[in-house]
């Protein structure tokens, strides 16, 4: 259940962030692209959280209950995905770093046989994330290999977010147990593949890979940055104020 919550929470929190771009993106096509990616992620969230909720040892929960009625410290998403949107380049940098990780992870989950329900969800997710990763990579290249202004701004975006990338590959008990069972990938092997993908796109974009410094972690334990609380307050206000409301 904890492994599935991570998959669902990563998708949910990033989807909510991308949804904030609706009506605000620099071009109509990009407005549509970001919200389409959000929609795919919401779909993945519904599937993963429904499955996670059905396995809750206390009492089965629905995807909506998990999304709208948990507190900040019960969310197990990466700190990376909860970071605020910033400017368009910041959003694309966040998306790029996450997409490459999410694609590799989903490919593993799609192929494992420990949890076939999760495999079915991930098989679908792989097809979707492949489009997301292609899109964010192309933007990294366009901005990095663009004007001096776009180059320096996207470089800064990547530098700023780099401290959140270590958490993706920091294995804790859930990761280790999940990896032994087969459901989750071995994170050190995943990092090797992620490095190759990231380095290749950054090179084409004429961008410099930042040095690994102190990495920020805590999301997987429910210890989040300030950004998540305010995001959840907006996301959850309706079902918390009017329990059971429907339309």
């Amino acid at each position: 259940m904890h492994a599935l919550l991570r998959l669902g929470d990563d998708a949910l929190v990033l989807a909510q962030r991308l949804g904030e771009w609706c009506g605000h993106a620099p071009a109509l096509e990009e407005d549509i692209a970001l919200t389409n990616i959000a929609l795919d992620l919401i779909g993945q969230t519904q599937s993963y959280l429904s499955l996670a909720g059905s396995l809750d040892p206390d009492a089965p929960k629905t995807d909506d209950e998990l999304a709208f009625l948990r507190s900040e410290n019960e969310f197990k998403n990466l700190l990376l995905v909860e970071q605020t949107n910033g400017h368009f380049g910041d959003t694309i940098a966040r998306q790029f770093l996450f997409d490459q990780y999410a694609l590799l992870r989903a490919k593993h989950v799609a192929q494992q046989t420990y949890d076939l329900d999760a495999a079915a969800i991930a098989t679908k997710a792989v097809k979707e994330i492949r489009y997301h990763a292609a899109h964010s990579s192309k933007w990294i290249i366009r901005l990095g290999d663009g004007t001096s202004e776009s180059h320096s701004r996207i470089q800064k975006s990547i530098n700023d977010l780099w401290a959140y990338t270590g958490e993706m590959f920091t294995a804790d008990d859930v990761d280790i147990a999940g990896s032994i069972a087969g459901l989750l990938p071995d994170l050190s092997a995943l990092k090797t593949q992620w490095d190759i993908e990231i380095d290749s796109v950054l090179a084409e974009a004429k961008l410099v890979r930042p040095q690994d410094g102190a990495m920020k972690t805590g999301g997987r334990m429910g210890i989040h940055t300030e950004a998540l609380g305010t995001m959840l307050a907006e996301m959850q206000i309706l079902p918390r104020t009017h329990p059971g409301a429907s339309w």
Partner: protein
């Protein structure tokens, strides 16, 4: 309906579902789209098996309700079962449906979903569904619904949508 045998119910429901249209592509049925995977008879009632196209596609919910409503006109106890595996692919869209898409101004998916180049649109031309020119340009890999990309035709200058290979 006088014949209530399982096989005749399955046949009748299958026929009925050919008229259930995709809410976002109203000229195509759920059968054309490959969304309806199976109709069978289980535990004394009809079960319609459907599969979602994209995980978050809002049409899936509507399709599920429409299929249930249509099936219950034949068998009041009919149920809908949503399965994720095997994952839906554009390879399941019938040839006839692809022709209907072109006729309705949507460029159908080209090639097979196993060909990675078709997924990204690199190195492949999507012909304009209006003037048939191959001088077209990808504007965005995303469009008005999760399944479509936005293109423009350099020959007739019309924008059009392409049903992505998936």
């Amino acid at each position: 309906m006088t014949d209530r045998s399982p096989s005749s119910l399955v046949k009748a429901v299958s026929r009925q579902l050919q008229d259930v249209m995709d809410p976002e592509l109203t000229f195509l049925s759920v059968v054309d789209m490959g969304i309806l995977r199976d109709v069978n008879f289980k535990n004394g009632h009809i079960v319609c098996v459907i599969t979602p196209t994209y995980s978050g596609c809002p049409a899936t919910e509507v399709i599920s309700k429409d299929v249930l409503k249509a099936a219950r006109e034949i068998d009041p106890d009919a149920e809908v079962e949503v399965v994720l595996s095997p994952a839906w692919t554009t390879d399941w869209i019938s040839l006839e449906a692809r022709e209907k898409m072109t006729a309705n101004g949507i460029a159908p998916p080209e090639g097979s979903s196993h060909d990675k180049a078709f997924l990204t649109g690199d190195g492949h031309t999507i012909p304009c569904p209006i003037c048939k020119s191959k001088e077209t340009k990808l504007i965005s890999p995303f469009g008005s619904t999760p399944c479509k990309a936005s293109f423009t035709c350099n020959a007739c200058l019309e924008p059009f949508e392409h049903f992505k290979c998936f």
